[in-house]
């Protein structure tokens, strides 16, 4: 078979082949090139396009001055509205991340250390809800917290309240509650994996050295679980900062987040340059925060162990 192919190949082709086969790096890049090209086309070009556009200036409805200005960035960083929306988005996502991770940790701990058989069943049970429609999971909280929703109709039929509570919906708290539930599974899995990896003999050694269960937890378990906690935090924080569905459905105008304003600038605001600048600013802020967070957490754990 190989010989047959060689005989039909022209000399140049076989030369190229030899050249390539002698250089594994090149071969690797040839293999990688379709993936790199497609991801590059679909992401780098749009993001670069966005970067270029962020230096334009809106002059009218979808009319732009392309001579280059930093105004959009100055506005993105200094205008009260954007500053508050950035802070609110970060606060909502940060709080969501914190609550989700804190709530998920004991469960992951339980599965890793106390469930002896059927661990996989537990994992599947906690993973399943994540596979149902995100939209419907968010919507179900609208059904629960709404004016005629489950909480209100339940409390009324129990005679606890006379009139529906209106503070349950259309505010940042409703967004946090909804997001916390929607992203729960994403927190459990990485934490579980990192706990599961902990060598049990290390725990026993700590106990033998006279550590109380609490000290053992703080000195051994927590630092070793840190990679999982970090992974969970990053995986929840980044997508929730840019979430559009949840603030739109349950946030109301007080629960507006940065995604809503980005959508506005690209939609009826017709100010694409400003939308681009806000997007890139958001991306940068998120990247810096995540970087700092991971760095600090790594250093802290490094010092401990």
């Amino acid at each position: 078979m190989t010989m047959l192919m060689n005989s039909t190949e022209s000399k140049t082709v076989s030369q190229v082949r030899d050249y390539v086969s002698r250089r594994p790096g090149l071969r690797g890049y040839l293999l990688l090139s379709p993936t790199l090209m497609i991801v590059g086309t679909l992401m780098l070009i749009p993001v670069l396009g966005m970067a270029v556009m962020s230096f334009w200036q809106q002059t009218g409805h979808m009319a732009f001055d392309m001579s280059g200005t930093l105004n959009n960035y100055v506005e993105a960083l200094t205008r009260d509205m954007y500053r508050v929306l950035f802070l609110r988005s970060l606060a909502i996502s940060g709080l969501t991340t914190l609550v989700t991770v804190v709530m998920a940790f004991p469960l992951a701990y339980f599965i890793a250390f106390y469930v002896k058989r059927h661990k996989m069943v537990w994992i599947i049970v906690v993973t399943l809800p994540f596979w149902t429609s995100y939209l419907l999971r968010v919507f179900s909280w609208k059904v629960i917290l709404g004016y005629n929703g489950a909480v209100n109709s339940g409390l009324i039929s129990l005679g606890i309240i006379g009139e529906p509570l209106t503070f349950l919906m259309y505010n940042p708290t409703a967004v946090v509650i909804t997001l916390t539930h929607a992203w729960a599974t994403v927190a459990i899995l990485p934490i579980y994996v990192s706990l599961e990896k902990i060598d049990r003999s290390v725990l026993e050694a700590a106990t033998d050295l006279g550590d109380s269960p609490f000290m053992r937890f703080v000195r051994v378990v927590l630092p070793l679980a840190l990679p999982g906690i970090l992974a969970a935090s990053v995986l929840i924080f980044i997508p929730t900062v840019g979430d559009y569905v949840t603030p739109s459905l349950v946030g109301g105008s007080d629960g507006y987040m940065i995604a809503n304003v980005i959508q506005f600038q690209f939609g009826r605001g017709s100010n694409w340059p400003s939308g681009a600048a806000i997007s890139l600013t958001a991306m940068t802020i998120v990247a810096i925060l995540v970087g700092v967070f991971v760095w600090v957490a790594r250093r802290m754990s490094g010092r401990r162990s």
């Binding site: 979808m62 009319a63 509205m81 105008s253 009826r268 100010n271």
Partner: protein, 373 residues
């Protein structure tokens, strides 16, 4: 060679055989290959696309089109005409779209539309001449804007839950502290912002000045803490009004009609400062991929049949004068639509076209105020 085959065969024991793998991949590849992903071209040939406000994607408005084509046109919706304009300027091509009369010059100037050939407009002569000849609606190049629906934007309120204390209906009702947090407004500057402009005493029939905009913004800022929902979604709004979550809302004519139909005690206020009146219509894209279908959409929507449907089911005025002769006179009187449309529109305040930068600023300010700034 033999050795290696043996090796591989052993290796594959307990694995997927290659044949199985091939079959699975083949099936997958076939399924994907059979999927016509380039649907767009096929679609463009078959059916026309209508780009409109969410909610107007209602088959009831297209009975003649459906009879002709066996199905409704493709609907694409926007939350607000300004958003639609942005999307089209960005390169989104449709056949027919649905702006309002004060949008005409800006939309025309965008160079994205074509004047319609009067000869191909089947119901041209049945329409109210005053609407067909609205400023900028036609010129030598043809009919740029075919009027379709008209009506008012005003306050719908639950008469059983809102107590006016004997005062006359007014836009001031929205500021009543007793109803704080029980009020909804339309999430569109073209409606809510202009309603506040009327209350501010601004003449929206003229080009707006910076002072006019500031005065209106001040009222918008005062209104914002009262509001529970900024929404374009009239169905959610109706539900909220039916349950009593919302007792008062800025709406179009359709909401009180629908709520009254369900037996709720509601009224469409006639504010003493005057309501906001409007007339919206159809414009045809310059590069309409399906020109015949585009004319079929316009003709269906301006037909008498659709006119009756729009009046009876939506409670809106319609551009077809003949439809008014067929529609239920009781409903017409109840809606206040039994008059000449121009008299109706003039009884309220109708906005005139504004310059590009003014519209852009209004939209931007509206969004900021809505967000709390």
């Amino acid at each position: 060679m033999n050795k290696s085959k043996e090796f591989i065969a052993r290796l594959q024991d307990g694995q997927f055989t290659r044949r199985q793998a091939l079959k699975a991949l083949g099936a997958m590849g076939f399924a994907v290959g059979a999927v016509p992903l380039g649907v767009r071209s096929a679609l463009a040939g078959d059916n026309a696309t209508y780009f409109t406000w969410g909610g107007y994607d209602d088959d009831g408005m297209f009975a003649p089109y459906i009879a002709q084509h066996g199905g409704p046109p493709n609907y694409v919706t926007y939350g607000d005409a300004e958003e639609g304009l942005t999307k089209m300027k960005a390169g989104f091509v449709v056949d027919v779209t649905h702006p309002c009369s004060n949008d005409i010059p800006r939309w025309k100037d965008s160079g994205m539309f074509q004047g319609m050939d009067k000869g191909r407009l089947a119901h041209y002569d049945d329409l109210f001449a005053d609407l067909v000849n609205l400023p900028g609606a036609n010129d030598n190049a043809g009919q740029w804007f075919m009027p379709f629906d008209w009506g008012a934007t005003s306050i719908t309120y639950r008469t059983d839950l809102v107590d006016l204390e004997g005062k006359a209906e007014s836009w001031e009702m929205l500021f009543d502290p007793r109803y704080k947090g029980k009020i909804a407004v339309i999430d569109s500057a073209a409606d809510t912002w202009y309603c506040m402009a009327i209350l501010a005493g601004v003449d929206i029939g003229k080009p707006l000045t910076g002072d006019d905009i500031d005065k209106t913004n001040a009222l918008m800022k005062k209104l914002r803490p009262q509001v529970r929902m900024f929404t374009n979604d009239m169905t959610s709004l109706q539900q909220a009004m039916a349950s009593g979550e919302i007792v008062m809302a800025i709406t179009w004519n359709e909401t009180p009609v629908a709520l009254a139909g369900e037996g709720h005690a509601v009224r469409f206020a006639g504010p003493k400062e005057g309501a906001l009146t409007w007339c919206c219509g159809l414009m045809m894209h310059k590069d309409a991929p399906n020109l015949d279908g585009a004319y079929d959409i316009v003709n269906a929507m301006t037909s008498r049949e659709t006119g009756v449907y729009v009046i009876d089911w939506w409670g809106y005025g319609h551009s077809n004068a003949a439809a008014f002769k067929v529609a239920d006179p009781g409903i017409l009187a109840q809606l206040g639509l039994d008059k000449d449309p121009i008299a109706y529109l003039n009884a309220g305040h109708m906005g005139v076209p504004q310059a590009d930068d003014v519209e852009t600023r209004i939209n931007r300010d509206f969004e900021a105020i809505k967000t709390g700034f």
